[in-house]
Amino acid sequence: MLITQLKSKETIEALAQGKTVIINCHGCKEVYFAEHEADELQKDLNGVTQIITTDYICNPDNLKLQLQKHTDVINAADTILVFSCGVGVQTVAAQFESKKVYSCCDTYPLPGFQGVTPLNVDCGQCGECYLNGTGGICPITACSKSLLNGQCGGAKEGMCEVDKEMECGWERIYRKLEKLNKLDNMKYDAPKVRNYHNPNAEEPII
């Protein structure tokens, strides 16, 4: 799941050269797309011959279908400006290999990778889930140092020393285990070493 942020106005103005076609992707608008800011910015650009607003341009078949009726104006254009995540820009660039296709957004990851509902929890996809010993709170993402064997000792009043607005993940784990009457978990577990060699995604067991 991705979110996008507009590049600066100057950057985008410099990219719009000659006859320009703009493609806006609203597919992930409910997650994040700065629709109004993009609209305002596009009004002031020079040489724009067409603004196309569609969705899910990351799907090449859909992109082709949506652009069909604009074929002539796209063929006549010098530049295509794409307002979408990096996937969308690359799909457009692959479809118009001989055209200058520019990206007008920067793309950021969004915690959680299902649907639109943004989550409070994050998963580092580390490939060896540690949640069993930690009462279901992830030490990789809830501890700013991703420690696996307990707190670093730097927390003050339950807040992390790296980010003072973040709760100490290990303190949260402790409290949760205390509540579950499972504090023994922490006592007897052998020290864990993170295995950075992830299981191969291509051979799932299930």
Partner: protein, 654 residues
């Protein structure tokens, strides 16, 4: 299609160790996302259960839940799911699902699976093109090929020199990303640009977690604002929101269908050749849930015959009146007197007699709503107008504020409700200010400003937002003590009492970015859509769809020779949407946006396999057909159409 497996079962040895000393297990598996929806029955629980049974463990039960990480929906499925004797919960899911579950359950939750990294991030359509979401898009200098993803070393300043015959030295099956970039730029004549570009340094701090987490917080708040789900389509209200209502020129002929309301069609009480006056009753209600219909012009009845109906798309009985251009009023059109002196039953009788029905779309007879068998605590006037493009209700609020308030008072009196609320979205602040000023000294009427979100105007959403109450599945607003009416309906109630004028005209928005001259008009019921479109300068272009109603729930018209009805709030001309449905990829967006908290993805399958039992299990009948799921569907599936198939089948008793 690629199957993005996000988790796999832990190794047996590891599971054995975790299982040691734990018994009475409940197993929850996530139904997975981002995979083709080919079966509802995945074997995930089975393998784990076998391992547990080998160890002699007692499994008290298991469940599969869709989109386990979708907290609100999972919480609903989770209620009462786990039997009392359960001691430990094992979850087969990615880390998000396990953490969501662990936060919800009172007993220990364990992971039976590991999350597997998906190479880079992908778009909704599961393309193989990857984006690493680095926060500093480099595609502008590389011809749209990503150096971060397509170069195995993520080099930003050109090739490493190790490639052989165009293949990467790290992975011999991978093309050298920088060679691809070179070739693409050569094709575009941009090589010099590449040589001239300054040295790039990747700024790893750009993916700022504070920015992202703040952002996520704000999006979460917006998503759950007032009620679960919903969407924010582009409004396009600026096309007509500042254009005041003007009367539409009198039509020569009006075609008045007998079916303009929920329930039985009305029965004509005039015949061809009869002279009728404006406001005269020309058809009577045919049952309790039905409505009378009145002449919107004075003139001669020239036909009583089936004519094309804009909603059903079929021919249905209509009375055609040729106007004499005089609009002579019928004798029955006279004020009913002071509201204070009218009893509740008298008001309901006037509303029934004057043919007032819900003008927001469904056309439910207002008198039936007002005569509620259950006690009513609130009359909720819906001035949200959450559909994009439409501005008719907005104009009604501005032009007829006094009538709307009068109508609300009348409905409160008729239903015995002690309180009235007018809900208006925050994109109509001028109407909010006006109504607030006008109701400032009315103690029991409140103006509620709601943050804009579609489908706010759906009665169940509005009740949740304003009253914080949930209408039970299959229930009606009166079950929670509410009556919801459109603001135009309130104005019609006011006209019926204050003027004695039946519902023979209404405010209509004519707009859309393909309509030449948008506007808001006071239109006589039965006026031809074609005449209205012509009057507004016709439509632009040839790829245009004309709809009666809004873009989300309106009815597309192939033939414009149809009349405007009591419940037709707009005529819009928009660009025709071309789409081709592909397989559902379980992206979960439909479940994210469904304000009724359903899982629309199931309906797409069940309609095709005619699985009506499945439709019932997934509560199809609760669907309000708002179209959010179809709007957001990344596979472009006509979900609403398939839901309607299911609803029809269930209604037919299948």
């Amino acid at each position: 299609m690629e199957d993005y497996t996000k988790f796999k079962l832990k190794r047996k040895e590891e599971l054995d160790a975790v299982l040691a000393g734990k018994d009475n297990l409940f197993v929850i598996a996530c139904n997975k996302c981002f995979k083709e929806l080919d079966s509802f029955d995945e074997p995930e629980c089975g393998l784990f259960e076998e391992i547990a049974k080998e160890q002699g463990k007692n499994i008290v039960g298991s469940a599969r839940i869709d989109f386990l990480c979708n907290e609100p929906l999972t919480a609903k499925s989770f209620q009462g799911l786990i039997p009392q004797e359960t001691e430990n919960v094992f979850v087969i899911s990615c880390g998000l699902g396990i953490q969501t579950m662990a936060a919800m359950a009172e007993i220990p939750v364990y992971a039976a699976s590991d999350s597997v990294i998906v190479d880079g991030y992908h778009g909704m359509a599961l393309t193989t093109t990857l984006c690493e979401a680095c926060g500093q898009c480099y595609l502008n200098m590389t011809g749209g090929i990503c150096p971060v993803v397509d170069c195995s070393k993520s080099l930003l300043n050109g090739q490493c020199g190790g490639a052989k015959n165009g293949k990467c030295e790290v992975d011999k099956e991978m093309d050298c990303g920088w060679q691809l970039i070179y070739e693409r730029l050569e094709k575009q004549g941009r090589l010099q640009e590449l040589l001239d570009k300054p040295v790039e340094l990747r700024d790893y701090s750009k993916v700022n977690h504070k920015f992202i987490s703040e952002y996520v917080k704000s999006v979460r708040e917006e998503r759950f604002e007032g009620y679960y789900g919903g969407i924010h389509p582009t409004e396009f209200k600026e096309l007509s929101e500042h254009i005041a209502v003007v009367p539409f020129p009198d039509p020569v002929n009006v075609v008045i269908p007998m079916s303009q309301h929920a329930g039985a069609p009305a029965e004509p009480i005039v015949k061809v050749g009869d002279q009728v006056k404006m406001g005269q009753k020309i058809a009577q209600a045919a049952g309790f849930i039905s409505s009378a219909i009145h002449a919107s012009v004075s003139g001669t009845v020239v036909a009583v015959e089936p004519r094309l109906h804009p909603i059903s798309g079929l021919d249905s009985l209509a009375i055609v009146i040729q106007s004499d251009g005089k609009n002579t009023l019928d004798e029955s059109v006279k004020p009913a007197g002071d509201l204070d002196k009218l009893s509740a039953d008298e008001i309901i009788e006037i509303v029934r007699e004057k043919g007032v029905v819900g003008m927001g779309g469904a056309g439910f007879p207002t008198a039936v709503k007002l005569k509620s068998p259950k006690p009513i605590e609130l009359v909720l006037l819906n001035g949200c107008e959450c559909e994009p493009i439409l501005t008719a209700d907005h104009q009604v609020l501005l032009a007829y504020a006094d009538e709307v308030i009068y109508g609300l008072k009348a409905m409160m009196k008729a239903s015995g409700a002690p309180k009235g609320v007018i809900a208006i979205e925050d994109n109509k602040l001028d109407a909010v200010e006006l109504l607030q000023a006008k109701t400032a000294d009315i103690e029991n009427i409140e103006i509620v400003v709601a943050k804009t979100k579609y489908p706010q105007g759906a009665e169940k959403m509005l009740i949740k937002r304003v009253m914080g109450k949930q209408v039970p599945s299959g229930g009606l607003p009166m079950d929670v003590g509410a009556i919801v009416c459109n603001v135009s309906t309130a104005k019609a109630v006011s006209d019926a009492i204050q003027l004695g004028m039946p519902l023979v005209e209404r405010v209509v928005t004519v707009s859309g970015n393909r309509m030449n001259k948008p506007g808001n008009y006071l239109v006589k019921i039965g006026t031809s859509v074609k005449d209205i479109v012509n009057h507004c300068g016709d439509v632009k272009g040839d790829d245009v769809t004309v709809k009666i109603g809004g873009p989300m729930m309106g009815f597309a018209q192939a033939n414009l020779n149809v009349p405007m009805l009591k419940c037709s709030n707009g005529i819009i001309a928009v660009e025709t949407i071309v789409k081709e449905a592909v397989e559902c990829i379980k992206c979960g967006r439909c479940a994210d946006v469904c304000p009724m908290e359903l899982r629309p993805l199931y309906f797409t399958k069940y309609a095709l396999s005619e699985d009506w039992e499945g439709m019932k299990t997934q509560n199809t009948m609760d669907c309000i057909e708002c179209g959010c799921c179809e709007y957001i569907c990344s596979s472009k599936i006509p979900i609403v159409e398939r839901i309607k198939i299911g609803k029809t089948a269930i209604r037919e008793g299948k």
